[in-house]
Symmetry: C2
């Protein structure tokens, strides 16, 4: 039986962005020391951590000595190189483990896993060449969407194929990389469920959030989403099957499409997720604390909200009017400590909380 | 007109204990970098800060170079030496300023200030010798309480004088230091109000908390306290007079006795306060964020609670059963990262939140 980590233990985080920063603060709240591994010494998470190990991802000596100082290691970013995880795992427990990454770093593997786990997916096909793309478009029909299998996020590495789209151009647009072709989901709305799974296999989930994307980037999440108890229950079943299938330890998110009152899985994030930031101000226990609890081998805290919440991302220039945001009495402001504004860069978010709708 | 500090600015904190730690995390949440000054490099706040300056309080060179790197400096501890504050002030704004410390570091000065500001106090007298103690006890009557004017906290530096107490022994017990003799307040309960005051003089306060002390240490706070609107309003008036009188910038707390439905001021803490820890889980904006906002020259956030809360301190050995605390579903656990348990040492606290009583 694995022992829970005592307060004062060291939890390591691979990746020093805003998710690592919010994880580090939640970990400190429970009395842990946090060490961060990131190539950038001045990264957002490093500035709130006990120690920052600034080294490249391919420096296995640095990874191993980092891991050797940690009682457990986790990550904020699903594209941590597998070799780094393996090197860390040779010194200390890594939670979640390799399986969660292997099943989600590659879109084709991920969709296949989701289908096999019983979560609905859109129709999809493997694409390794222009000829295979032509065959796949014949089968799936237009419009459809071509995505690189690896290293896509926030809408990057994708090409939409419409009636007029030239397939050779689309294939070139994604760099002729190994890809997956997916049918368009005729969805009414985008939802997500943020769940956590413990070392002992317990799964708990927050209420569904309803999400608005634009330009491939999450803009707004509203939670709890107004859904039927049946849909919430279906989402929990999907999350449970996925969490168990990944043998996941920690928080993960499942992005869903609501298609005619049923749920289709879009993708899995094997980590804390932007659509769970609302939990920071509307739930007793945030997604970041839940993740730390799971990584430490602790029981989960409650996932029930005390308030309703609208989370609004501050992307790029959105953060420039910070004076107005600071003065907005109804906005709980969270800024990530990023030194420079860039278009599309997530700079912070605001949470607007309100009383929960009265139970009828 | 003083400009508000932009996100990315550096806020310095004198003192690296748990209050500094929770201030540091709140400051990071608003995008600030936090530097901590404390003689102990491994102090709780230093482990969540961007930079820890480990140097003695009397190293004025270290204090000045610390302050020179900060856009503003604040403190978690009212016994910061005045010389250190002055040295910092020569390089950067210090908020709150010297006046808040001068009026509260000395119990006699503090009680006189409170009385002059219109807050009720118990009867008190200056004591500088055994002869003055004898005269003061004649005047105030027994039981009464003898306290050193300076450096008392958590019940230290105090001697209770009962019918049978030998005055020479009491005078020896407090080290024959300059002292104040206070009458006992025949209070029904202990209350406190945590308030914040901005650079522009705006004052806001959280609802009153009801506090239980034992052995001179706060054990439990319940908030919002069940009090009449008149008592809440009287407390806000007292806090406003005290905050304005100190020309305070930041959070401060006023400890009060409820004596027959009226309020008597016990003491002032010119900083975030243990009896305000409930705000971390029951209010949209915690006392720590309020303090950072005030120090940064930002407007205050809301002081209204979304939940009711019972805060229970974890003192000394209370933290040993951390497994049970971690598994207590209704307890929001906050641990301070202290390396060793000592009797009377504040190791953490738990907050139990519940829905606010319905308005009648």
């Amino acid at each position: 039986m694995t022992q829970p980590l005592a307060p004062g233990s060291v939890i390591g985080i691979f990746g020093g962005g805003q998710l690592g920063r919010m994880l580090a603060m939640a970990g400190a709240g429970l009395g842990f020391d946090i060490h961060v591994y990131d190539p950038d010494r001045d990264c957002p998470a490093g500035r709130v951590a006990t120690r920052i190990c600034a080294a490249p991802w391919d420096d296995m000596g640095a990874v191993q000595s980092f891991a050797a100082r940690c009682d457990a290691v986790t990550f904020e970013w699903e594209n941590v190189p597998a070799a780094a995880l393996d090197a860390a795992q040779s010194r200390t427990p890594v939670r979640p483990g390799r399986k969660s990454l292997e099943l989600t770093q590659d879109r084709l593997t991920e969709k296949t896993f989701i289908r096999d786990a019983g979560g609905g997916t859109v129709e999809f096909a493997e694409v390794g060449s222009l000829a295979e793309l032509e065959t796949a478009v014949e089968k799936i029909g237009r419009p459809c969407i071509l995505k690189t299998r690896r290293f896509g996020y926030d809408g990057k590495g994708q090409a939409v194929i419409r009636d007029e789209t030239d397939l050779a151009a689309a294939w070139a647009e994604i760099g002729e990389n190994p890809a997956i072709l997916e049918a368009f989901a005729p969805f009414q709305r985008e939802l997500s469920i943020v769940a956590a799974r413990t070392l002992t296999g317990e799964v708990a989930a927050y209420p569904l959030a309803e999400n608005d994307h634009s330009g491939g980037i999450l803009r707004v999440s509203k939670a709890p989403a107004l859904v039927s108890p049946g849909l919430q229950s279906q989402a929990l079943d999907i999350a449970t099957a996925i969490g168990n299938g990944m043998e996941h330890v920690g928080v993960f998110a499942v992005e869903l499409f609501d298609v005619d009152g049923g749920l289709v899985v879009n993708e899995i994030a094997p980590r804390v997720h932007n659509s769970g930031h609302w939990t920071m101000d509307a739930c007793a226990c945030s997604q970041f604390e839940q993740h730390v609890r799971a990584v430490a081998g602790w029981p989960l805290g409650p996932c029930s909200p005390h308030s309703a919440c609208e989370m609004i991302n501050l992307i790029g220039e959105d953060v420039v009017p910070w004076r107005a945001l600071a003065a907005d009495y109804s906005a709980r402001l969270h800024l990530y400590g990023k030194r420079t504004v860039r278009p599309g860069r997530k700079m912070g978010h605001i949470n607007r909380i309100s009383p929960l709708p009265r139970q009828s």
